[in-house]
Symmetry: C2
């Protein structure tokens, strides 16, 4: 028997995905966005040049060092960090606007960014952090080479960076091993659904339960 | 591409389901046990007489007041409570044995039992608590009558008890509304999968990550 689902006001959350490059985080993020329309992605600001196919304002906001510094000085970034030779950051305003509209916000950021978000008092209880591990370093290296985005030198540099990124896994709420995309995505989506079922993320329940009780006393 | 799933040692947990009678908790619990063989159910001890079809040692351990008192005196119960005219409790030993074997343990207990488990220091970080709400009291009453287990008097008494049970919803980690069995079960199972992905429930990750890093340095 199906009864109309009561619509419960919920509190949106910020889902942080981190992993070394090549562990599949970006593919997982894209699939989540196309599967669940309650999510919006936080588009990072970066000083790195666009890769082929990347679109300004969609993949990143591509800015120069001067503009980046200005955002830092004017306190417009929730977090920012240097990764390899480039700087990356998250603009605060669009995140706050999305959360206020009840949209969950997805972040594809590294351990430094995640750490800064955790330290942000006003937002830390909106935060759910997930670290994606590769099944092995050999597999990670194979994936980095297979995607043909980087030069051999860049792949070597990313492999060195990977061990550094992985060393921060213990700071995350949830850990997934991406040995199989579908299985890993199913686990990630379970985390999303579970987080939405948390009492604290359903402020509308107080009203719902008070109505239930009213219903009972008028029986 | 499929890579063999690394097997990560995990820490078993205790899943507490509470709800007013008729909200579907027992059907959800049964379906979970038949779907996921990593679960065992905690069989409660009770002084209430068996209902038709109930099997001693499977649905409950049916005992008399004397035996129940002895278990309380000898500190053999993790929790115990009086519900309507009868007493219910959970024996500690089988729960500890199951957790030690890496089996998750499912509890179908009321708010008083859940509260006592929460207060048990040695076990409280193994605990995940879920409260199941009915979509409405009218629907709850309809379901209680439809299952034809109770007399009209008993149904009236259960409806009075329901409001009391529901008043404790705020003590639970997760809240689900059982408006549709399949949807509610899917949400419940997401909670199970997410809890298993929590870093703290995967102690084997430390070893796994140390192997990953070794793998990297030998490249």
């Amino acid at each position: 028997m199906v009864v109309a689902t009561p619509s419960i006001d919920r509190k949106a959350f910020m889902l942080v995905l981190s992993s070394p490059s090549g562990a599949g985080k970006t593919a997982l993020a894209r699939h989540l966005l196309s599967t669940d329309h309650s999510f919006v992605v936080s588009v990072s600001v970066t000083t790195r040049p666009p890769r082929r196919g990347e679109v300004d304002g969609k993949d990143y906001y591509f800015v120069d060092d001067g503009s980046f510094n200005k955002m830092v000085d004017q306190n417009e970034l929730l977090e920012h960090a240097q990764v390899f030779s480039y700087r990356y950051g998250t603009r605060a305003e669009p995140v706050r606007a999305s959360l206020a509209q009840g949209k969950d916000v997805l972040f594809d950021i590294d351990w430094q960014g995640a750490q800064q978000l955790r330290n942000g008092k006003s937002i830390s209880d909106h935060l759910v952090t997930v670290f994606i591990l590769p099944p092995s370093m050999t597999e990670l290296s194979r994936r980095l080479k297979a995607r043909e985005l980087d030069s051999d030198d860049e792949v070597r540099r990313r492999m060195l960076g990977a061990a550094q990124e992985i060393s921060h896994w213990e700071a995350y709420d949830y850990i997934l091993i991406n040995d199989d995309f579908d299985r890993c995505f199913a686990s990630l989506y379970s985390i999303v659904k579970a987080e939405r079922a948390r009492r604290q993320r359903q402020p509308g329940l107080s009203w719902f339960v008070s109505q239930l009780t009213k219903d009972s006393s008028s029986d």
